[in-house]
Symmetry: C2
Amino acid sequence: MKVSDIPGIIVERLPRYYRYFDKSVRNNVDYISSKEIGEELGIHSTQVRKDFSYYGEFGKRGVGYETTFLRGQLEKILGLNYSWEIVLIGMGNLGEALVSYDGFKRLGLNIRYVFDVAPKLAESKLGDVEVYNIDNLDSILKKNEIKIGIIATPAEAAQDIVDKLVVAGIKGIWNFAPTYLHTPEDVHVRNEDLATGLISLSYHLSN
Amino acid sequence: MKVSDIPGIIVERLPRYYRYFDKSVRNNVDYISSKEIGEELGIHSTQVRKDFSYYGEFGKRGVGYETTFLRGQLEKILGLNYSWEIVLIGMGNLGEALVSYDGFKRLGLNIRYVFDVAPKLAESKLGDVEVYNIDNLDSILKKNEIKIGIIATPAEAAQDIVDKLVVAGIKGIWNFAPTYLHTPEDVHVRNEDLATGLISLSYHLSN
DNA sequence: TAGATTGTTAATCGATTAACAATC
DNA sequence: TAGATTGTTAATCGATTAACAATC
């Protein structure tokens, strides 16, 4: 099975499986079945089994899935078995919240360099992360092998920054700016427009 | 056409259409075609036309879509033509960033009440939003007609809070806690687990 | 009218679920 | 063995896209 045959939407579910296996390991549960996973996560048990089957035969018939083993497999599948160095651009409230969000670090996702057009001097260090002026973007990216960038700038600034990131070799962009970004095909963009979340609730409650 | 016949995934695209029409109005563009919309947003033009067609016949053949008119239609469709009162629970970095995010207010999405288990006294007001102790949740929700709640608490606390919100009549929940929430059928949950965004990039760059 | 673009049907594509043999 | 649950095929369901008549 080629990677390209795997439905893209699966990656939305894999982190939830991973989290549930992790939780089960911590609760000293040795095996869980696709039925249990499905009930906990609101997913059909057939879907769970099919999702795993794209990557291998991980279960034991009649028993279920061994939690420690599956957690490890999912870690590898998701690329969480080694650590990522990440840059973030835009040091507003959202940028700060992301830098200090502790859910990333223990997954090996490390926001290392932060850039802003006008970093306040008092904040030139945020926790253990250094904040740089945007002018240094190119030189710092070139010195380090960084593949993932987070855009937490206003919409107007986003495309310019992205163009620079692409030139510097960034291959994955997590975009919080409420605008569509144009990138080469080999650069993966993930849009996380916050307003969409609230708007979707507004839509559903109105209809 | 019944509302239930409209594909759920459309709501992911509608806010982007809305934003593009809004931008076009501000740029004094009178008409845009489905082809232009598609190119700008990376969506097939047929998809654009089909999406609109679920709600009415909004275009002029040979011409395109009138920007002011469409912006207004999308506003109604998305429930943005009147204002929503919203509560947020969990006053960490993320909660603060959401409260001060200025993309919501001009859409009529107003975070009015904020709760925490231990609001620091110095922060009992955040901008023009009052911060309350979680014990007051029930009484304040009962006094006001609030339909949307935002969960920005740790995962462990989320389900308890949600149960309380549901009892108090909340019908839409925007969940930032990395855990699946169990709710009655008529309560709409939108999960916005931040780690998933970065993990999906990690996954795509690893494979 | 000629050119452009919509709205919609039908075809295609892709994801989900039902069913069940394999097997622990 | 009997009971349970996996892995996978086939059927179903739903979303996307191609094609084109309608019409501005």
